[in-house]
């Protein structure tokens, strides 16, 4: 089980969190995208072997969404950030 340093609560066990998905900004104007571009946004993620920036929810803690930089290969957690304001 990973230890995730929540920027608000400090180091906590992974099972307090929910992993959502890679950080992919929502298109500002979805209507301007083609069907293909839109489905690419909805369904196709990079799913890299290595470092990835993800959205995690500290559900059983502060209930804040945070950004976690995690290595899918080595399971290292490099750093976490609060949600951008």
């Amino acid at each position: 089980m990973l230890v995730i340093p929540c920027p608000h609560c400090g180091p906590r066990n992974e099972d307090e969190f929910v992993c959502w998905s890679e950080v992919v900004p929502r298109p500002a104007d979805p209507a301007a995208l083609s069907d293909l571009e839109w489905t690419d946004y909805v369904y196709n993620h990079a799913n890299p072997r290595g470092w990835v920036r993800e959205q995690w929810w500290h559900e059983h803690g502060c209930r804040r969404w945070i950004i976690v930089e995690r290595n899918t290969l080595t399971h290292e957690v490099a750093r976490t950030e609060p949600a951008p304001r």
Binding site: W20, W57, R64, W65
Partner: protein, 990 residues
């Protein structure tokens, strides 16, 4: 009848208490042992050699090791214990213990299946894959037969009677193993002030110091170990555990420790989950057996195991032993066994030139040394009678030496399991012919024999260094150096010897005793093209038995490396996975058993509902809810029908408290709702509410529910019980990550409110009877409005909604008033036939109305237009979550599934949820599926079976016929609009 202990030595035995006898049974015979014995040592004390039959060939087997490595002495505990596959070598003896051998019938002495051993030339590696997979019927037919022949113990049928618990622990340093290296590491870190945990699977600290005459600081090693343990126990920053196995090493230095004999007598077993800042692995090394013909006969034993028997338990595993080795460690072992009174006429050393000092010591004690010789085979089936000692290049030559014990040592394998589990790759050490820890990938280091440093002085030094380095890394001041004196280490001088040639071509030389894998099996696998060690493992099953290859793996790798003409390091090891030794389900469950497996959430009314005789079921989000309230003599189906009828003819009342509830405050709530629901919100008047579909970004239903505007900037939204958690996560994600600029506060208030829904034509008079603080008249309090008023004197938020399609008032009061509300409504409703209603009746009513539910029609394909809820979508209001995907659905076009109603021709046939639909008259064999039943029920209000379905192009099929393709039954049905009761909705709006 109790027998004497013929093989108990007259003196010695550091772990046993001779003053007290313990009686136990093995295979029905009563024996006697002592406290401190293991079952294995007590069996040896009683001269029991044959303890089990092997996994595949049913060959007789005896005790091989003295610890967790044991592949043979795996027993079934009877009676109260009722536990399979227990290693006799680690099971503490206790009064009344009863165990028996596994994998034999009728008994271990005469096992009918032993005939398999004679047939074994027909059963090479991969036999089962090659044979049964291709035959008619395949593995599904032969599997159960083969499994009955193989397999080990019998799974217990009763719940684990033991009291187990789990415990979390945080420490600066976890030390695995309390041998010389581990004790030194713990001492250094503890003196430096770190919080230390040290765990060892043995009954007492010391590790190998318990098994020999080694001295530390001028006193016996075991005494030194006890002294260090006492100092550790006196320190407040140390937790020291005996009989505690570090079983698993997981990410980010999370380790599990299974403590099998906690000091608290009311706990039988405890699972520690330890998060350690640093880990010192000091798990020692395990002696390897040698691979030679019939090396599995009872009486062939690891040299170190024989020494442990003598030193710890004062039992003699044999009277006359022949030893065979490829390294220096066996010389001292043999001398100590001779000292203890075991006759050892001969030591065969495969090496041509062992060190002269050792040779001289051996000669002084009259043990004959045969250089360049090995044991090439043994005589005897149920017990060793003699050993053939010959040069490996002439295995049939040499001499036959009578003996009842063959002691072997094929070198030492560091216990690198935890290092490997941590994610690191072990490296091959050709000097010591073993795998040693490679580069660390987590905050861990290895010290002593598990680091390939074989020798007491090396262990003491490395342990201390590991401890001081851990101190420094964690910011503690390392204590002054303290490495006690001891004799110089003897080099191991091991000469790799993976297999000794056999004098007989068909003789079996076992690599893996637990799974009956022979050296020949490894070679067959190589010949058939399996080259990766992982593939060879799976094909031959070497390393996949109960001992997980602790004894055999390195020999298997060595034999494979010779077959491949590669170095063992190039072949590499298979991955070691947790746990190190088997962990009982009981301790994994801990106290989370029975009622506590899944603690149920309760509403304020759950107690009242149970008292009213409700049948409870596990609903969403951890709630237990009433399915129905049967009266005396009533079946559940009758109760459901009565409740559903009462709601449409009189009034019903149900506990809606589990519904998810969220309060939203802020100037941007309307804009936010516009973006998260498919319909429009900014035009909603204060005091009114609306039904909405909340979509995912893919345009599919996330949840549906009603939302009310309590004030200009104050909103209340309801979510489905099971979806409430997802909705909460979804909304918070959007607010925090996607639109942080929106000024919205979201608060989950689900459990703060009791929600009681009163529905039915009499709902209004019931509520008035209970005392409503404001007018309930339709013009004053219309459909889809929310009013703050008192009900029965309790401040309440009352909503007019339509969950069942009837006139409904949802009364929300602070949860602390919930019971009072329930009682007041019950009393007021009595004259009007108000009845409590369970979830089943409300689902019947929703099915009658054709109300779609996230849990039924929300299948990840259906969009709101498909579900007939296009009226709840505003494509022109601007962007919202899911809108672009709905546009895409329209662009793609094609056949869409629609929600429709079904009336089975047989009015009594209720199709089960999920039943496929096919065209009327479709062929019997594999017809194309055109939809499925999403919910079906018997409707007491329609008086027949009804169903909702998701059907391709369903709206165009209305008034047509399809067939419900149930199991063994085709039921024709009429396709209808998805509404069977009050299509105009005048009841709920009235």
């Amino acid at each position: 009848m109790t027998r004497l202990q013929p093989s108990r030595l007259a003196a010695g035995g550091t772990l046993i208490d001779r003053s007290r006898p313990l009686r136990f049974r093995f295979n029905g015979t009563e024996y006697e042992g002592h406290p401190g014995d293991t079952l294995a040592s007590a069996l040896i004390a009683n001269g029991v050699r044959l303890v089990g039959r092997s996994f595949k060939y049913h060959r007789p087997r005896g005790i091989v090791s003295a610890g967790a490595e044991e592949p043979n002495a795996v027993v079934q505990l009877d009676g109260e214990d009722d536990e399979p596959n227990v290693r006799a070598t680690t099971l503490p003896l206790r009064e009344g213990l009863s165990a028996r051998s596994v994998n034999c019938w009728p008994n271990v002495d005469f096992d009918l299946a032993a005939i398999i051993d004679r047939l074994s030339p027909l059963l090479p590696a991969g036999f089962y894959y090659k044979t049964f997979m291709g035959w008619p019927g395949g593995w599904s037919f032969y599997g159960p037969l083969v499994r009955r022949m193989a397999g080990l113990g019998i799974a217990p049928r009763r719940p684990d009677p033991r009291a187990c618990e789990k415990r979390f622990h945080h420490c600066d340093v976890l030390v695995a193993g309390a041998g010389p290296a581990g004790l030194q590491a713990a001492l250094a870190t503890a003196r430096g002030g770190a919080r230390v945990m040290i765990a060892d699977d043995g009954p007492a600290p010391g590790g190998m110091l318990l098994d020999g005459a080694a001295e530390i600081g001028g006193r016996p090693g075991a005494e030194w170990a006890a002294g260090v343990a006492a100092e550790l126990d006196s320190l407040p920053n140390v937790v020291r555990l005996d009989r505690a196995t570090v079983a698993g090493y997981y990410d980010h230095n999370l380790l599990t420790v299974v403590e099998s004999a906690p000091r608290q007598p009311w706990i039988d077993e405890r699972l520690w989950k330890v998060r350690a800042r640093r880990v010192v692995l000091a798990t020692g090394a395990a002696e390897r057996p040698l691979v030679f013909a019939d090396n599995d006969r009872p009486g062939v034993m690891l040299a170190s195991a024989a020494l442990a028997c003598v030193c710890r338990y004062a039992v003699r595993p044999g009277a006359r032993a022949v030893a065979v080795t490829n390294n220096n460690s066996t010389y001292r072992t043999v001398l100590e066994l001779v000292e203890a009174g075991i006759e050892v006429p001969m030591l065969a050393d495969v090496r041509a030139r062992p060190p002269e000092t050792l040779v001289a010591e051996l000669a002084a004690r009259g043990v004959e040394l045969l250089r360049g010789h090995a044991v090439t085979g043994v005589a005897g089936v149920r017990a060793v009678k003699a050993a053939r000692v010959a040069p490996p290049d002439r295995p049939a030559g040499g001499r036959r030496v009578a003996c009842d014990l063959v002691l072997c040592s094929g070198g030492w394998s560091p216990r690198i399991h935890l290092h490997s589990q941590s994610g690191a790759r072990p490296a091959y050490d050709s000097d010591h012919a073993c795998f040693v820890p490679g580069d660390s990938v987590q905050a861990e280091c290895s010290a002593g024999a598990c680091n390939g440093a074989f020798g007491l002085r090396a262990a003491l030094e490395q342990g201390w260094r590991a401890g001081t380095e851990a101190c420094a890394a964690l910011g503690f001041v390392p204590p002054a150096a303290s490495v006690p004196s001891c004799a110089d280490d003897l080099p191991l001088d091991v000469e790799p010897c993976w297999e000794i040639p056999s004098p007989r071509p068909r003789a079996k030389a076992f690599v893996d005793l637990a799974n009956d894998v022979t050296a020949e099996d490894i070679r067959i696998a190589e010949q058939e093209g399996f080259r990766s060690v992982e593939h060879v493992k799976r094909y031959t099953t070497a390393g996949m038995g109960t001992d997980q290859g602790k004894l055999g793996n390195v020999n298997a790798i060595g034999i494979l490396s010779e077959a491949l003409s590669q170095a063992p390091g190039a072949v590499g090891t298979t991955s070691y996975r947790p746990p190190y030794t088997p962990v009982s389900f009981g301790v994994i469950a801990g106290k989370e058993r029975g009622e506590l497996v899944l603690p149920a959430r309760r509403t304020a009314l759950t107690g009242r509902i149970e008292e009213a005789g409700a049948v409870m079921f596990e609903a969403g989000a951890g709630y237990r809810r009433p399915s129905c309230f049967p009266r005396d003599g009533e079946s559940e189906a009758e109760a459901i029908a009565r409740e559903a009828l009462a709601c449409r003819t009189a009034a019903g009342m149900y506990d809606g408290s589990p519904l998810g509830k969220f309060e939203l405050h802020g100037p941007d709530v309307a804009a936010f709702l516009n973006r998260v629901y498919a319909n429009r919100w900014d035009d909603l008047a204060v005091g009114r509410g609306r039904f909405g579909w909340m979509l995912r970004e893919d345009g599919r239903l996330l949840d549906d529910g009603i939302t009310f505007r309590l004030g200009e900037d104050h909103w209340w939204t309801f979510a489905g019980t099971g979806a409430a958690g997802h909705v909460h996560r979804h909304l918070e994600r959007l607010l925090q990550l996607v639109w942080p600029e929106l000024k919205v506060y979201l608060t989950a208030v689900t459990s703060q409110w009791t929600n009681v829904c009163v529905c039915g034509p009499k709902a209004r008079v019931v509520l008035e009877g209970a005392g409503a603080g404001a007018s309930l008249a339709p013009d004053a309090f219309p459909f889809m409005a929310m009013r703050e008023m008192t009900v029965a004197g309790i401040p309440a938020r009352v909503a007019r909604a339509g969950y069942t399609g009837e006139l409904s008032f949802e009364v929300n009061v602070p949860a602390r008033h919930g019971v009072r509300l329930w009682e007041a409504l019950t009393e007021a409703g009595e004259p009007f036939g108000l009845t409590p209603v369970g979830s089943e009746a409300s689902m019947v009513m929703r099915c009658e109305k054709g109300f779609v539910s996230a849990g039924f029609e929300g299948d990840g394909i259906v969009n709101p237009f498909d579900a007939g809820c296009g009226w709840a979508v505003d494509m022109d209001k601007g962007d919202f979550i899911g809108r672009r995907s709905l546009v895409r659905d329209r662009n793609v076009g094609g056949v869409r599934p629609n929600v429709v109603g079904l009336l089975p021709e047989d009015p009594s046939f209720v199709p089960p949820d999920g039943t496929p639909l096919v065209e009327a008259g479709a062929p019997a064999d594999a017809p194309p599926v055109i939809g499925y039943v999403s919910q079906g029920c018997h409707s007491p209000n329609v008086g027949r079976a009804i169903a909702l379905a998701v059907l391709d192009d369903g709206r165009r099929r209305i008034d047509g016929r399809i067939e419900i393709a149930g199991i063994g039954r085709r039921a024709p049905a009429l396709v209808t609009r998805p509404c069977f009761v009050d299509p105009g909705g005048s009841r709920m709006r009235g």
